[in-house]
Symmetry: C2
Subunit: 290 residues, 2 copies
DNA sequence: GATTCTTGATCACCATTTTTGATGATTTAC
DNA sequence: GTAAATCATCAAAAATGGTGATCAAGAATC
């Protein structure tokens, strides 16, 4: 039979208060109740915990060790209690966030770090997806939030804007297109376009060029690596290639249809399911900070 | 109010058995008892743990997290119980062993390693002392065992022999005494003798030579270092200087009164206080192995 | 679709456990 | 030596937890 946590508390109180009487006062019980509790505990464990030989009780050697263990059990139980209290007061147990891989991760991570520092009890799960895959995953996982470049608006979704991101059409300095003074659609279509794999299987990136040959990469890091190797051309978010453009490793392509475009990422939540405290706090941090 | 461990067990059983009825069977209770327990638990935590909406109960999101915590509490409590069982069956909670620093530590450490591998629950404390300090500490700490070179026999102490150790009188190869063909007591008394500090403050090493100048070191490692630096001469246990004698860094002194002596270390226990299972096992390992 | 099973909630009742308050033996403090 | 602690013990009261029966509602079976 497993010991009762109240009995462990009694043992602890006896030791810290220096006696049964003190423990009773501390626990708002009567002395005989404490006496009963620890005796029962000792019976259950089949082990003397207190030495009643003298005027004041003392821990037996075994009691000392058991008290250490008992305190661990108590602490664990209280941790559980505290967690429950927070869940009960509006902190959701889990928060799932889908992030579009085209967005800079840093502001999101910074916000999560703050959240952790505020000792938010919620277990936050972040998943990175691309293009249509973001909303696909948002729906499939019943996620709470998504940070997305494009999404299909619906009445049950509520969006708020995030800071703009700029995309730049570029290629390696060694790439044939990099040398051109001006590039038109036909020029582009003759070369390999690099794109990020849409993790839902219904690719629909409105910024693609419709050439014959497209290589799909698994993310923007891989895409950038492919660009640097001269494998092809493609759009990249500015924050990922600024350094390379400055150093000349990559070149911005002088495409007549526009060499850059900006978009406003959205932080999307479900209108019908209110965010818990953690979700609300995260949304707030993402809105204020980045 | 802290949740009751039995209630946590009920929650766990409901989830693993897939329902109240199954849990009741598993815990040898009746279904309504389980129902009562979890409802009380939920009341205490102020939190719904199970979703009774459908035909079969399901954990709520908060319930999932709480179950994880609950299992930790249960595991901790069971660990405590297991420990108690072992203490109750003769494993002492603590075992204090005093070891004479002149003895090779390796056999002792090997025995302790074995003890640990056998998952002995006892917390073993080993202290190294020197000369009279060993018995001094043995008495002061009310230790259970001592491994000692010399000790004052008493009726309440019971000893068993350990493998012999040889001591060699030596000095650095550069030391004046190292060159002599024969050394007598007067020769020795003219040089600095190196000795290990007695950690009780009543030095009585019967192997000292009574010269004017004695340097006391804090252990045999320090003493050996001092010997190698040519600071003086002194006795060293053979196992610590064999290599140095072979390489010629140290020399055995041709003392007319004997250049070597052997002693039989003793494993001493208290006759009036029987060893616990861990102490007995350790004594057994030390007797058989080294 | 009607019937049968199963699931979990609920209730009144009873057994057990826990708390209480009183008492007593022993030890410490003054 | 007296007064004030300390802790054990006991009977009675209170609270807690368990039992078995019953009920409504969702699956499963035919």
């Amino acid at each position: 039979m497993t010991p009762d946590i109240d009995a462990l508390r009694a043992l602890d109180a006896i030791v810290t208060c220096g006696g049964f009487a003190g423990a009773a006062r501390r626990l708002n019980r009567v002395q005989s109740a404490i006496s009963y509790q620890v005796r029962k505990l000792e019976d259950q464990l089949g082990l003397m915990l207190l030495d009643r030989g003298g005027y004041r009780v003392q821990l037996t050697p075994a009691g000392e060790i058991m008290l250490i263990e008992a305190r661990k059990v108590i602490a664990q139980a209280e941790h559980m209690e505290a967690l429950a209290r927070r869940f009960a007061t509006g902190w959701e147990p889990r928060l799932t966030v889908i992030v579009d891989g085209i967005l800079p991760l840093e502001p999101t991570l910074a916000a999560l770090k703050l959240l952790a520092e505020e000792r938010v009890p919620t277990r936050v799960q972040v998943k990175v997806e691309f293009l249509g895959g973001v909303q696909f995953r948002f729906d499939k996982d019943e996620a709470d939030l998504m940070l997305v470049k494009d999404y299909l608006a619906r009445p049950d979704l509520h969006a708020q804007p995030l800071p703009d991101v700029t995309c730049i059409l570029c290629a390696s300095a060694d790439h044939p297109l990099a040398a051109a003074v001006s590039v038109d659609l036909t020029d582009l279509q003759e070369h390999v376009e690099l794109s990020v794999q849409d993790s839902s299987d219904q690719g629909n990136d409105r910024h693609m060029f419709g050439g014959e040959r497209v290589f799909y990469l698994s993310g923007f890091v891989a895409k950038k690596q492919a660009l640097l190797m001269g494998l092809g051309f493609g759009w990249m978010p500015k924050y990922l290639v600024e350094e390379d453009l400055r150093c000349g490793r990559l070149r911005e392509l002088p495409f007549v249809g526009g060499r850059r475009y900006r978009f406003t990422p959205q932080l999307v939540r479900r209108a019908n399911r209110p965010l818990g405290l953690a979700g609300a706090r995260l949304a707030e941090l993402l809105r204020d900070k980045p």
